[in-house]
């Protein structure tokens, strides 16, 4: 070792691994408390948590890597998990096992044993095992597996001290040395392993402290990642040729591929070891969990129950979340007003109030929604109900090429697309996740509603409700339809299997839900806040520059004149007429200023593109400012159309002005455009962060705008052809 720096205290690193649902995360939470950091691993959106504690003079670092069933690395999470186990610099691997399902949990343990890295086995949920009457001869099993075994109960913290002591001992190399255990694969497979190992020995490569035998096994299994890794080494031709020879030889001999045979032998080894050491009580777990499932997935009750839970989640997220959202809004409002009053009118004040504070406020308002939604999602996951949602929804979602779990992000999109896009993380397969993220923005969010209310109320006052319903219907229709198209054309090829575990129902812990919620909130603020702020400042700049001092001064002079004239007039009717003129003048001032800013210019610039849809430059400007948030479309139209420049979706004045400017058909086309194009900057930034690919981000932006244009075009020209105007 070329370590010339001696650490002051000992420090050790541990990786926590184990099957999904083995209680690994509750052990991790128990060890590290809230002292955790979440990071993404190697550019993929798989969370890897780290935490550290100080214990008897040593610093212990823990990494909670994603749950995995084996080292065959299949899902994105499993690939990350294996990559970490193989390449991460850990002193000891702690494998957490669900004691109530030892056979399958030992399958991963055996593969870890084969790696040859220092290992401690934590038999978790041990209380459930003893309660069922099963006895384990630990000493003997530990001897057969060649690794120390500790018993833990993650939710109460029982046994964790011993686990830590043992892990530190193993790390210090002071634990009684265990012999190396090898699964025996029978003469034919052993011959193949032997052959491949000896060929591998001849190439110079970094084994990362892993047994050569393990690499040979992986090659025999036909593991793609390891094969590729070997391919890149110089002088590997002989190994790869031998790999082919041996795989074919084994298959010809047994009419079965080597991977299956190896797996069967591993299970054989596990059953042998368990047969000697585990005295199982003949109880089948037809417990509470199955009874609950009898109701939750019942043919008649499943959907009503699911709908009720969704309603609850939705209400909590968006109705309950509306209160803190209002506080944020009024807080931000108060701050802007105070600053507005305290500072002299200047460019800097405008930047601070409209750009920065407005931008920060725009980010903050979504925070309550995100916190509540992820608190709810965490409870759905921890109780085990999330897997049941996938179970009952998969048939429908699979029709359109999605996974059962995609349903939750889509339904949450009705409230807000930002948490919806984030919720797609519950999907294990990267393809399903990206597909869900691509279509989620099409779901009509609550910020689009003000635009719907304004336009439907203006142009279809008698059928406003129906029009809004049709818009929501079409938003889901387009989401599903595009999902179907993308699946057919962009995500062809081998489909990701649905096969998944339905974990037993468990009582969720508040601690883990709170930790999860906190992580998501922090992630949202850290990753998106900054970018959104920059975007807000850019938009502010575009809507305030170039400065129109002359135009403004010109109007101000006229306004002043009018004001003095009003003061000097005594006839009541003249005052009324002049006041009206004054308001008109003020609107004109706003309009003229806006028209010549960069945003106004770009509105006019894109007018030719929008003209086939019947939109003019004012609609163009409102669509551009709509990128900030969809409801801004309404206030922009207010500025451009109405007296005083202030208006909401129910303003009569704005409605009258719009009715004069556009036909109902143009209004309808505009509604479809607003429904389909990019939701807002925050959603876009979230999407970019979540898909982690510029290709998909640009694709998402592009297809939404193109779709919005096409559909608006179809609506308008379809309407004209049918004789509407």
């Amino acid at each position: 070792m070329a370590n010339n720096q001696v650490p002051l205290t000992d420090s050790y690193t541990f990786a926590l691994t184990g099957n999904p649902n083995c209680g690994k995360t509750s052990i991790f939470n128990e060890i590290t408390g809230a002292n955790q950091k979440v990071g993404n691993w190697g550019g993929v959106t798989v969370d890897v948590k780290t935490g550290s504690i100080r214990r008897t003079g040593a610093k212990l670092y823990f990494t909670d890597i994603p749950g995995t069933y084996s080292l065959s690395a299949y899902t994105m999470e499993e690939i990350v998990a294996r990559d970490y186990i193989i390449n991460g610099n850990t002193d000891v691997i702690i494998d957490v096992l669900d004691s109530t399902n030892l056979e399958r949990n030992l399958y991963l343990a055996v593969q870890l044993i084969e790696l040859g890295k220092p290992l401690v086995l934590a038999f978790n949920m041990y209380d459930e095992l003893t309660r069922s009457g099963t006895r384990v001869d630990t000493e003997q099993l530990s001897h057969l597996l060649g690794a120390p075994i500790c018993f833990t109960v993650g939710r109460t913290g029982k046994g964790i001290d011993t686990l830590l002591d043992t892990a530190v001992q193993v790390a210090k190399d002071s634990y009684p040395k265990k012999h190396t255990v090898n699964v025996q694969y029978g003469p034919e497979l052993e011959a193949a392993i032997e052959k491949l190992s000896s060929l591998l020995e001849q190439i110079d490569f970094d084994r990362r402290g892993i047994e050569m035998r393990w690499y040979a096994l992986k090659l025999l299994e036909g593991d793609e990642v390891i094969t590729k890794q070997v391919q890149e080494l110089s002088g590997s031709e002989a190994v790869l040729a031998e790999q082919q020879v041996q795989m074919e030889r084994i298959e010809a001999l047994y009419h079965e591929d080597a991977a299956t045979l190896i797996s069967e032998k591993r299970y054989g080894f596990i059953l042998g070891a368990m047969g000697e050491t585990v005295k199982r009580a003949p109880v089948d777990r037809i417990g509470l969990s199955e009874k609950i499932d009898g109701i939750m997935t019942n043919r008649f009750l499943a959907y009503p129950i699911f709908a009720a839970f969704m309603w609850l989640l939705f209400q909590a997220t968006f109705t309950l979340g509306a209160y803190p959202m209002e506080w944020f809004e009024s807080g931000v409002g108060w701050l802007s007003e105070t600053l507005q009053a305290a500072m002299n009118p200047s460019m800097f004040r405008s930047l601070l109030v409209d750009g920065i504070i407005g931008g920060v406020g725009g980010v903050l308002v979504f925070l309550p929604n995100i916190l509540i939604l992820f608190f709810g999602i965490s409870i759905l996951e921890d109780t085990g109900y999330m897997a049941r949602i996938a179970f009952i929804m998969d048939k429908m979602m699979h029709r359109i090429g999605l996974h059962g779990k995609s349903f939750i992000p889509l339904i949450m999109g009705i409230g807000c697309n930002v948490p919806a896009i984030m919720a797609a993380r519950t999907l294990e397969s990267n393809r399903d996740r990206i597909l869900t993220i691509l279509i989620a923005p099409l779901i009509s969010c609550s910020a689009r509603l003000p635009v719907y209310i304004l336009f439907a109320g203006t142009f279809f006052p008698r059928n406003a409700g129906n029009i809004i319903f049709i818009l929501y219907f079409f938003s889901f229709f387009f989401a599903f339809f595009m999902g179907f198209l993308f699946k057919k054309n962009l995500f062809k090829g081998e489909e990701f299997p649905f096969v998944m575990e339905l974990p037993p129902y468990r009582v969720p812990t508040l601690k883990s839900a709170l930790i999860h919620m906190w992580e998501k909130g922090k992630h949202y603020l850290q990753k998106m806040g900054g970018v959104v702020l920059i975007f807000s400042i850019v938009i502010w700049f575009l809507s305030n520059f170039p400065v129109q001092t002359e135009v403004a001064q010109q109007y101000d002079r006229q306004i002043d004149d009018l004001e003095t004239r009003i003061e000097q007039t005594y006839s009541e009717s003249s005052v009324e007429r002049l006041s009206y003129e004054l308001e008109e003048l003020r609107t004109e001032k706003h309009r003229e200023i806006m028209k010549n800013t960069y945003i106004g210019k770009s509105g006019r610039l894109i007018e030719p593109v929008l003209r086939p849809l019947g939109f003019d430059w004012r609609m163009g400007v409102s669509l551009i400012t709509g990128f900030i948030a969809k409801e801004v479309v309404v206030s922009t139209l207010g500025v451009l159309f109405t007296v005083g420049g202030e208006a909401d979706e129910e303003s009569q004045m704005l409605q009258n002005a719009l009715r004069r400017a556009y036909t109902p058909l143009t209004g309808l086309a505009f509604l479809f455009f607003v429904m389909l194009y990019t939701p807002c900057i925050v959603a876009l930034v979230t999407l970019i962060r979540e898909v982690q690919s510029w290709k998909w981000s640009l694709f998402s932006l592009g297809y939404q705008i193109a779709l919005a244009w096409m559909i608006a075009f179809l609506v308008r020209w379809g309407g004209i052809t049918l004789g509407f105007s």
């Binding site: 399958r104 991977a259 299970y267 998969d394 299997p497 649905f498 998944m500």
Partner: protein, 110 residues
């Protein structure tokens, strides 16, 4: 909805060489898991299907000789849920086509 599954299966049994390899030690006809009914107790005889999918099954504990019980079908008859020595696994009916089983009562054993 089950029509698709049984249709696929009838195609499978016409597949040449479909059960030539494993008829030497038993004469009981293997059926795909997808045709089993709720409550059926069966033993796995063979896993077919492509590499990744098969590995996934093996990782989750599906192996030759393993017993399992069909717990239920989802309300829309797809996917299905099986009990594999205490752990409950759900899989789509089309995926269950790739697991050949025989009724447990007839042949016992590991």
């Amino acid at each position: 909805m089950l029509h698709t599954a049984s249709h696929q299966h009838s195609n499978l049994s016409f597949f040449p060489g479909y059960d030539t390899f494993h008829t030497k030690d038993n004469n009981i006809m293997n059926t795909p898991l997808s045709l089993c009914r709720e409550g059926d107790r069966v033993t796995i005889k063979k896993l077919t299907g492509h590499g990744g999918f098969k590995k996934r099954l093996l990782d989750l504990g599906f192996r030759k000789g393993k017993e399992l019980t069909v717990v239920r079908y989802a309300p829309l008859r797809d996917p299905m849920e099986v009990n594999l020595s205490g752990s409950h696994i759900s899989l789509r009916v089309e995926e269950a086509d790739h697991i050949e089983v025989t009724p447990t009562s007839a042949s016992h054993g590991e």
